[in-house]
């Protein structure tokens, strides 16, 4: 087989190897990498939610006590 005859199979093999590598990069190892921004967002929402509800309870109880005194 002459050298020009090898060109096409070599090209195909190279393209396949590149494709497999690209696919592997896209699929990854099956493990989610990174995502700390989601983690921080969740912890902040949980803390802020709890704090806001605590403040709301405190404010409503205080308003209720004032109404009670006024009555």
């Amino acid at each position: 087989m002459s050298a020009p005859g090898l060109a096409l199979p070599l090209l195909l093999a190279q393209a396949t190897a590149e494709h497999v590598e690209e696919m592997s990069r896209a699929v990854g190892t099956g493990r989610i990498v990174g995502g700390w921004e989601y983690v921080w967002a969740c912890y902040l929402i949980a803390w802020i939610g709890i704090a806001l509800y605590a403040v709301s309870l405190w404010a409503r109880r205080r308003a209720g006590s004032k109404r009670g005194i006024a009555a």
């Binding site: 493990r31 995502g35 989601y38 912890y43 309870l57 109880r61």
Partner: protein, 229 residues
């Protein structure tokens, strides 16, 4: 004793929440498949558990009220419903954020997410019902009936991942996970539990305060009470 408990609950809950954040964000290793985003579990799962626990309280108090009407029991049902709604909203928000890196979307109408949304909407309706009914006795009776019916949805939320083909994973058991995960989840769950009990306590007091002002006899007008004429 009650006063000491009242101050101890938020302090212990807060300390456990801070140390639980350290455990969840730093100490516990990343999960095998989900990596670091699995750390969301340590705030998402306790929030949803508190939602279900508080809804159980609402159900118990509602049922109790139907057999033995009392303002205290009605106030407990009201506290349970509101605390359930608060933790439910937090839990669903965190779940939606966790869904993005794991499922690729923030929201999916699968059985678990649909049932929990219905549950939150119905509890919001329950709280609206309490606001609209002016007569305290009628309000308490209607709310008690509603509270008993709403419990069916909590059962549906819990079993939705077992009964239906859900994208949401079913409940894990300590046997299928690693010890660090179990410890961190339990630690954070107790932190949330102490805070939830404190919230129920405060909300119960608030409901009783409102009830007392509603059922108190009307004050005489100042002119009639003070004027000698």
């Amino acid at each position: 004793m009650a006063k000491a408990m009242r101050y101890a609950l938020p302090v212990v809950g807060l300390l456990m929440l801070v140390s639980g954040a350290y455990l969840g964000l730093v100490w516990v290793p990343a999960e095998r498949d989900m990596g670091d985003v699995a750390r969301i579990m340590y705030v998402h799962v306790p929030s949803v558990w508190m939602m279900l626990l508080a809804s159980l309280l609402n159900f118990g108090a509602s049922l109790w009220y139907l057999f033995r009407a009392s303002w205290k029991v009605d106030a407990l049902a009201e506290a349970g419903a509101e605390v359930s709604l608060v933790f439910g909203v937090i839990g669903v928000l965190l779940g939606a954020i966790w869904a993005k890196p794991t499922w690729g979307v923030y929201w999916n109408w699968d059985p678990r997410l649909t049932s929990v949304t219905i549950m939150l909407v119905t509890y919001a309706g329950y709280m609206a019902l309490r606001r609209f009914a002016e007569d305290p006795e009628r309000r308490a009776r209607w709310s008690a009936v509603a509270g008993v019916f709403l419990a069916a949805n909590s059962v549906l939320v819990w079993y939705s991942v077992k009964w239906f083909n859900s994208l949401h994973q079913p409940q894990s058991s300590p046997k299928t996970t690693y010890p660090e995960l179990v410890l961190t989840l339990r630690w954070n769950s107790f932190a949330f539990l102490f805070i939830a009990i404190w919230f129920v306590w405060l909300r119960y007091d608030l409901a009783m305060q409102t009830r007392r002002s509603e059922v108190a006899p009307p004050e005489p007008p100042p002119a009639a009470a003070g004027s000698p004429a």
